[in-house]
Amino acid sequence: MTATETPGPTAAVRGNLVIAAASVVAGAVVIPYGASMPYIREGIPGPGLFPMMIGGLLVLFGVLLALTSMLGARRARRDHAELAAATAAAGAGAGSAAPEDGPLSMASASVPDSGGDTPEDELETVAVMDTDIGSDGARRWINGAILMGGIVFYVLFAQILGFPLTMAILVTAIVWSLRAKWWVAVTTGVLASLGLWAMFELGLMVQLPDGFIQGF
């Protein structure tokens, strides 16, 4: 996964607790719903059996996740302390070597199973295609809203305006919101929608909404 931010141990534990709670709640909602489904015969569950089993496992996994992440945090603190003690004992003698290596080895030991992915991802990235599209502050959320709102716009208006126009507007908006030049955005929008139109409609015989340009 992204490894964009390596959350500290406490943040990871807090995140895990939120997930655990959500999982338990989801399970708690699903079980009664499953139980309310009809039975095949008296005493023999049918449609509700699997949802109930899944709900039960969601609760179980949620509880286990909460327990293990709290235990893990405690264990990490203990290990951390041991390690710190050992480092401190060493540090008394050798001033230069220990502080340099210390934090690194600590980091790998003290985040027990947060995040989950392969450690550190070894990002030896040679940034060739570096067009940073990130933004600051509120702009990030506006971009997100443009993306989501754009798709909603497409769903609502594709039938009326037709695929080529709606898709062109959507793509242009997204590209433009990511700080591309306006003519790049417009060109992308037009070419993408026409290209996909041709490919699906003519090549793959999938009917896309025509809108008012029907018969074209």
Binding site: T2, L65, A127, V128, M129, D132, A185, L196, L208
Partner: protein, 518 residues
């Protein structure tokens, strides 16, 4: 036999057949690399054209197309993190990680060559063990299918790498999603909230496009300045040699993947998707990072070579029950049976007795299609590298456009587009919380099979659960399931212990070394 082979060769070497094979290959490559367009859909689109062809080119078109499409599905998963076909979903994360680490071409190359080897293995298996294996597969009842599907589910444990509990939650979410729609036992609508559209359930392709594709876009557009992940360029040229070196290093993986794909694919109804997951799980659970010897990337290459060979082997071996008994091994072969029948070829023992030249022609096509995949595949990789030179802002717009079209094309409706958006948000949130996404897809794909076979089994015997454990083939599968579940947490626990001990030891060593120095 030689005589038959000669006349079969004549059938294949016909110019029409060659032209059809080439066109079908291109068609398969294009369809496969579009997310949401599956090989099954492509095969259905081909059917009307096959009515106008002779039997051999008609079959050739479908076989070639499906082999190409399954590989081409790996391309968007590596470049855009959207699996093109469901069977690529198993190793999408690995392929995309490789691309991010600048080894995209290697990842795709390995996947290609592994696909070719897998496909060839599957074809050889089809040719030689078809009758025997078909007979074996015919002994599978709902119990055995249940255990095969459960074995597939255990892959979730392995794909969650060190976050098994979160993986378990993700799997449950996927299974829960799979229960949406009309239930199998009574036709009772579950989680449909009164909407008839949802009766058909959540299409996993829409879910996949959302979980992997749209969530990636969502993350990119909401990224902080300087935070967005730079993607290195794919160098299409000069990848052939390192690719073959990597394949040679992982020859055992390709071998085991091919065998798994061949066996699982030959089970009617199991197909290439499950084969890829099981092979992936097997490869992942048996490979360890040895510091200094191999890196996480090597492990990814290993996993890809296992799973990618498995899905192509599965494609070929799915024809075993098809040819031997007319039982479709997957949806593509189901379509092919229709075409065969229309062309006056009845799958079954007759085919092996009386229509041997058609049969051999079919074998030859399999080999040819897989060999053809090699040059065309490298060409596709070469071309696909351009995708990553497109500025990111433009690329994001394109991903959204392709995702919407793909989701729409699934059923010509907006429900799938809506579901894609929903799953995009879910994928975004899950990643923030460090919950692996692959188990969700696994749950959605395998959930219906697990539930159906379970319910069928208990209805059949009036809840005599003992039947699940007493059948010989089941017993073998159960042992495999237990091994799969137990191995990974045990390994990771041992690994963590060892890691901690090493860290502590290193600190102590430094301490004593410092003491000695001081």
């Amino acid at each position: 036999m030689i005589e038959n082979f000669g006349s079969a060769l004549e059938l294949v070497a016909d110019p029409t057949t060659i032209l059809v094979v080439l066109l079908a290959a291109l068609f398969g490559l294009v369809i496969g690399s579009l997310p949401g367009m599956t090989a099954t859909l492509a095969a259905a689109l081909l059917v009307p054209f096959t009515f106008f062809l002779d039997p051999v080119p008609a079959i050739a078109a479908i076989i070639t197309m499906s082999a190409m499409a399954i590989f081409a599905g790996d391309v968007p998963s590596a470049l855009l993190r959207i699996p093109g076909t469901p069977s690529s979903a198993a190793y999408t994360e690995d392929a995309f990680a490789l691309t991010r680490n600048g080894k995209g071409a290697l990842g795709l190359g390995v996947s290609l060559v592994a696909s070719v080897f897998g496909g060839l293995f599957g074809s050889i298996m089809l040719i030689f063990v078809s009758p025997i294996l078909g007979e074996f597969a015919l002994r599978f009842t709902s119990y055995e299918y249940f255990w095969v599907a459960v074995l597939g589910l255990t892959a979730a444990v392995i794909v969650s790498k060190g976050a098994q509990l979160k993986g378990g939650i993700a799997l449950m979410v996927g299974l829960l999603v799979s229960t949406v729609g009309l239930d199998v036992t009574l036709g009772f609508p579950r989680f449909t909230f009164g909407d008839e559209q949802l009766y058909r359930g959540v299409d996993f392709i829409a879910a996949m496009i959302g979980l992997f594709g749209l969530s990636e876009v969502l993350r990119a557009v909401t990224a902080k300045r300087g935070e967005s992940m730079p993607i290195p360029r794919i160098e299409g040229a000069g990848t052939i040699r390192p690719t073959f070196r990597a394949i040679w290093r992982n020859k055992a993986r390709v071998g085991s993947g091919s065998v798994i794909g061949g066996v699982v694919g030959a089970l009617p109804g199991a197909g290439a998707d499950i084969a890829a997951w099981i092979a992936y799980a097997f490869t992942r659970s048996t490979s360890r990072i040895r510091p200094g010897k191999n890196s996480a990337d090597d492990q990814r290459v290993e996993a890809i070579s296992g799973a990618s060979s498995a899905n192509n082997a599965g494609i070929a071996s799915a024809y075993v029950p098809t040819l031997a008994f007319g039982i479709p091994g997957d949806t593509i072969t189901a379509i092919l049976i229709g075409v065969l029948l229309v062309k006056g070829i009845t799958p079954g023992p007759d085919l092996f007795l009386y229509q041997t030249d058609t049969l051999y022609a079919l074998y030859i096509i399999f080999i040819v299609a897989n060999l053809l995949l090699l040059p065309l595949g490298f060409l596709l990789i070469r071309v696909s590298g351009f995708v990553l030179r497109i500025p990111r802002s433009v690329l994001m717009g394109l991903i959204v456009a392709i995702s919407i079209c793909g989701a729409f094309a699934i059923n010509n409706g907006y429900l799938e587009v809506g579901l894609m958006v929903l799953f995009g948000v879910i994928g975004y949130l899950f990643e923030k919380g460090g919950i692996p996404l692959a188990p969700v897809v696994l749950g959605i794909v395998l959930g219906p099979i697990v539930e159906r076979t379970f319910m069928q089994s208990v209805i059949k015997t009036d809840w005599n659960l003992a039947e699940f454990f007493t059948r010989p083939i089941s017993a073998v599968l159960i042992v495999l399931v237990i091994l799969a579940i137990a191995s990974s947490p045990l390994m990771s626990w041992l690994g963590r212990r060892a890691e901690r001990a090493t860290a502590l030891q290193a600190a102590k060593d430094r301490g004593s070394a410092a003491d000695a120095a001081g």
